[in-house]
Amino acid sequence: MNKSSDPTGAYRFVLFVADNEPNSVLAKENLEHICKEYLHAGYTVSIVDVLEDFQAALDNDILLTPTLLVEGPRGRRTILGNLSEIDRIILALGSNV
């Protein structure tokens, strides 16, 4: 499920969702929008459905959905929620966005 414009991208995202519950659908859409709009330096995205792979949630300490794990220039970050609050996400991602 990897999408990328640059395989060496500066941001690596793992988005944990719960099937097609509304907040999960919104999170996927919002993440796609953020990537296209702001992350010109490149990114990779993988999406994990916790209903299909609970072990991945267990291994990554994911209790809440949607959860976005980010690895980027400013280290690891966890962003919770449907990613509708774009200002907060931009702030969390760092200055070179």
Binding site: E21, L51, F54, L63, T78, L80, E85
Partner: protein, 507 residues
Amino acid sequence: MDGEKETFDNPMLKIIPLAKIGTGVDGFDNILNGGYPAGRTTMLKGGPGAGKTLFAIQFLLQGALKGRPGIFVTFEESVEAIRINSMTLGWDLRALEEKGLLFLYHAKLDSAAVTAGPFSLKALIAILDGKSRSMGAQQLVIDAIDILMRRFENSACARNELNSVHEWLDEKKITTLLSIKSNEDPEMFARFGFLDYMADCVVNLDHRVFDQISTRRLRVLKYRGSAFGTNEYPYVISETGISLVPIASVNLSHKPLGAYQASGNKELDGILNGGYRRSSCVLIAGGAGAGKTTLACTFVQAACARGEKALYISYEESPEALESAVLSAGIKLQPAIKAGNLKIISRLPEIMGSDEHLFYDLKMINSFQPDQVVIDAVSACNRMGSGKAPFDYLMRMVNACKERGITCFLTNQVQGSILGEDLSGMAFSSLVDTLIQLRLETVQDELRRSLLILKTRGGKHSTRVHELIITDHGVVLGSRKSAAGGIPLERPGRKPGAARGAQRGAK
């Protein structure tokens, strides 16, 4: 009381009692009328130090040992900390984990996480669901759920999410314990008060400190579809985990007074009409230095020499101090200790609450099975707590002895010497079968001890005041010739009882 109700002989009315699962906590099943509700949720509420996690571990442990796999989810402690803490109680959780009977899961919440919109607990539910399927879990603990709840910004949202957890639990029919910190933050409590309604059984755990002595009490607040004990029940956290302090027996089932047993002193046997009776309660009251401990140890030495077992609970001296103190009076306790006939427990009364003292002492009585129990001294028990606590302790101890046919020796340090005064100091004289008063007074520049039997139930006794002399080879009654150190103490023509007269005259 056990789930059965009056049916008024109506054949259409069938009562099916609720299925229960053992709590794993000694004595708790009785109060819950069998245990936690099977396939349903029980909530444990309590402040810090109340033992919520221990209750939870004991529940899972008991289930696992019976082959019921269980999951422990905590939002608070690391898995390793739980393993280590459990090991101190002798519970090897890792062994159960390896057998697939237990799964410990620290549900970590990243405190630095940024919130960017609404979220749900679907991942947690997915983990619980997946894990319970894969291991066939029948029991579940969710520990410190309040920490998870704090993550939600508004209570409507938290409520919705908890409801989805509740629905999942309902559907799965897993017996669940939910623990939550309470009493700490009234605002939290108000926000999550609704949690009560999710649970079929709610238990409040209370850890209170009063007069610097900590006590723990639990109370069942509700139990849907079941009868339960409605009182507050004391519980203790001991080296074997949580246990409820055994409930006082409802019926008086004292053994009748038994055979006379030699007191260790021939003269005393004479004036007691044969000695102390088995299964009786003997109270020795007197001022400091009057010889109470010496008299009690005289009996203990004699009983142990006969091959009987004695438990000596000392609230005033260490075992070594006690041993050497009575050695100067020629009483040797060491051989009895070595032979395993004598156990001396030495504890400061204020070190724990009366419930805990009672718990440990009853446990010792049950395991050691003594013939004689000495409590030295009743007066020190007042330091166990305020109000009724010391009285309850002694009452329960005396009752426990009488129910088991044990002779119970109490010493009590009392000032003054007015006859008819309550010499037990705690108004339980009615439980005392033999009451001995010791006095220490100066008569004509000389220290003198005396002994008077105030009562012996079911037998004759001397009514005279006897002189009590502690020599380096034991206690001597009524004789003036063998005083300590061999100093001749002459008092020609002095009759027993004269000391009392002299004292009265002086006043």
